[in-house]
Symmetry: C2
Subunit: 302 residues, 2 copies
Amino acid sequence: MAADRVIGVDLGGTKILAGVVDRHGTIERRHERPTPTSSQDELLLELEAAVVELRDDGVAGVGFGVPSTIDQRAGRAVSSVNVPLADVDLRARMSERLGLPVGVDNDANAAAIGEWAFGAGRGTRHMVMLTLGTGIGGGLILDGRPYRGAVGAAAELGHIVIEHDGDPCQGTCTGRGHLETLASGNRAGAEARAAFGPAADAHRLVRLASEGDTRARAILERLGRRLGSGIATLVNVFNPELVVIGGGFAAAGDLVLAPAREVLAREALSPARELVRVVRAELGTAAGLVGAALVGFEAVDR
Amino acid sequence: MAADRVIGVDLGGTKILAGVVDRHGTIERRHERPTPTSSQDELLLELEAAVVELRDDGVAGVGFGVPSTIDQRAGRAVSSVNVPLADVDLRARMSERLGLPVGVDNDANAAAIGEWAFGAGRGTRHMVMLTLGTGIGGGLILDGRPYRGAVGAAAELGHIVIEHDGDPCQGTCTGRGHLETLASGNRAGAEARAAFGPAADAHRLVRLASEGDTRARAILERLGRRLGSGIATLVNVFNPELVVIGGGFAAAGDLVLAPAREVLAREALSPARELVRVVRAELGTAAGLVGAALVGFEAVDR
C-alpha cells in the first residue's frame, strides 16, 4: 500500500519548517514556526505541534531532518548544533506520540537526498553534498542510494581534517583543523570581523568582495582554497559524478568556488578529477524539507 | 553455472604473485615471478604468462589487482606507482588474450576485499582499509559490498588532504599535504635518514624505536598522529565498524597505532568514535592475491 503524502519537518536553529509533500517532491502545504531554544521538552512539543497542525487522513508518515549526529539504531539524536536536542530517541518518541511511521535523519543528509531526488543531483548515482552555513554539513549518495554508515552517523563532512593539529573546532567537537573550522560561514564572519571591525559578518564580506574590495576577496579566496582541499579529499575518496554546494554561504558563489576548483584540480587524482563537476544546489531551503519528507517515505515503505 | 576456481594476480613493484583460488579463499597453487619494470609491453606479457602457467580446465576467470588508478568503464589502468602501466585497457586486452572473464581492480581495493571476505573484516558491512607501504592505499566496503565510485577510481585514501598547502606529493600526484606524503613508509624512511644518516630506512627506524630510542619513537609518534587525523577523517565520513591497517609499515604496530588512536579519539565525533575499532590486517601478502581472485569471481558471476 503506497502512501500518497508525508509530512517533512526541517529543524533549523531559528525556525521549524514543516510541509506536506507527495512522492513527486511537490510541497502541498507548508508552515514555519520559530525554534524554541530554551529546553529540549519545549522543542519536542513544538516539533510535534508542527506535524499535528498539517496532519490529515492522507498523511502516511513523517520525516525529520535535524541538525544533529544520529544513531539510527534507535533513531536517536545524539548531539546537536544550535538546538537543545541531545541523547533523545526522536524516532520512537514521535512514532509513539503520532501513531505514524517516522524517519529521522541529519539535516544535511536530508538536504542531499532532496537535491539528489529533485534538484542539482537528479539522475546521478554518486553525489557528495556540502552545505556551507554557519557550520559545514554533508550528505552522501553512493551507488544510487543514501549512505548513512554503520549506525547513521556518516557524512559528517564538515569534520574532515584538512589541517592536522590546526585550529580547534567549536561546540562539542574536540578536533582540530576541520573543514568546518577553516572554511565555514562562521569562519568567514570571524575573518571579516578581524579585517573590517566588529560589525562585519559573512554577508558584508561577500558584498565587499563583490564590489571589488581586495582584502575581502583575499579572505574569500583563502577560504575557497581550503574548501578545495576538502572537496579534493572527497573526490579522491568517492570518485563522485557530482559535488553539490548548498547552504547560505554558497551565496558567495565563484568568489569561493573558483579558488576551490583551482585547488581541487591540483589535489584530485585522474580520472576522478576529470569526471567530477562542482555545482551549486538548486532547491534552496526547500532541499531540507523535501529531503526530510523522503526520509519519511523511507519509513513508510519499510 | 558457478565457477569453481579463478586465478588471482597481485601485481607489486618487485614481484607478480599469482595463484589459483577457490570460493572459500583457499589458495590451491601459487607462483611468484619478478615484475618487469623496463616496459609496459614486457609487463603485460609477463602478467599473461603468470596466468597461462597456472591455468587448467577448472579455471573460470581471472582477477588482477594492480597498483594503479582504475577506470572500470574500460577496465583501464590509468596511471600507476612503481610499475610501467598507464592508459592501458587491461581488462579488454587480457580477456581477449585469455578467452576468459577478467576483472581488474586497484591492489589496495583487492586487499580490502580479501580482508573483508576472509581476514580481519569478516562479518562487517562497513569497513575501511588502509595499506601502509611505500605509499598509502585504501579500500572501502560500504553497506556490505566493495565501493568503487562512479568509474572505479574511488578509495584513493592515501590522497586525502591532512595538511592544506602542505608538503608536495610524489609521482604523478600534484597535490599537497596528502596522508601518503606525511605518514607512509616512504616518509618514515625520509625522516629516518634525516635523523640517523643516509643508511637508515623505515625498518631500522622501527627497530630503533622498539629498542627504546627516543628520537626514533618521536618520529613514529609524529607519523602515527598524522595517521590518526587521516583515520578520523574516514571515521567521520563513513561511520565504519572497522578500520583495518595493513601493508608493510603496519609492522610498526602500536609505535604508530597508539598515537593514531589517541588523535582519532580527539578528532572523531560521537557516536562513530565509540563504535569504530582499529585493527591490524590478518592475511598479510595473501590479502591482495585472494582479493584479486574475488574480483575475478565478480567478473565470472557478472
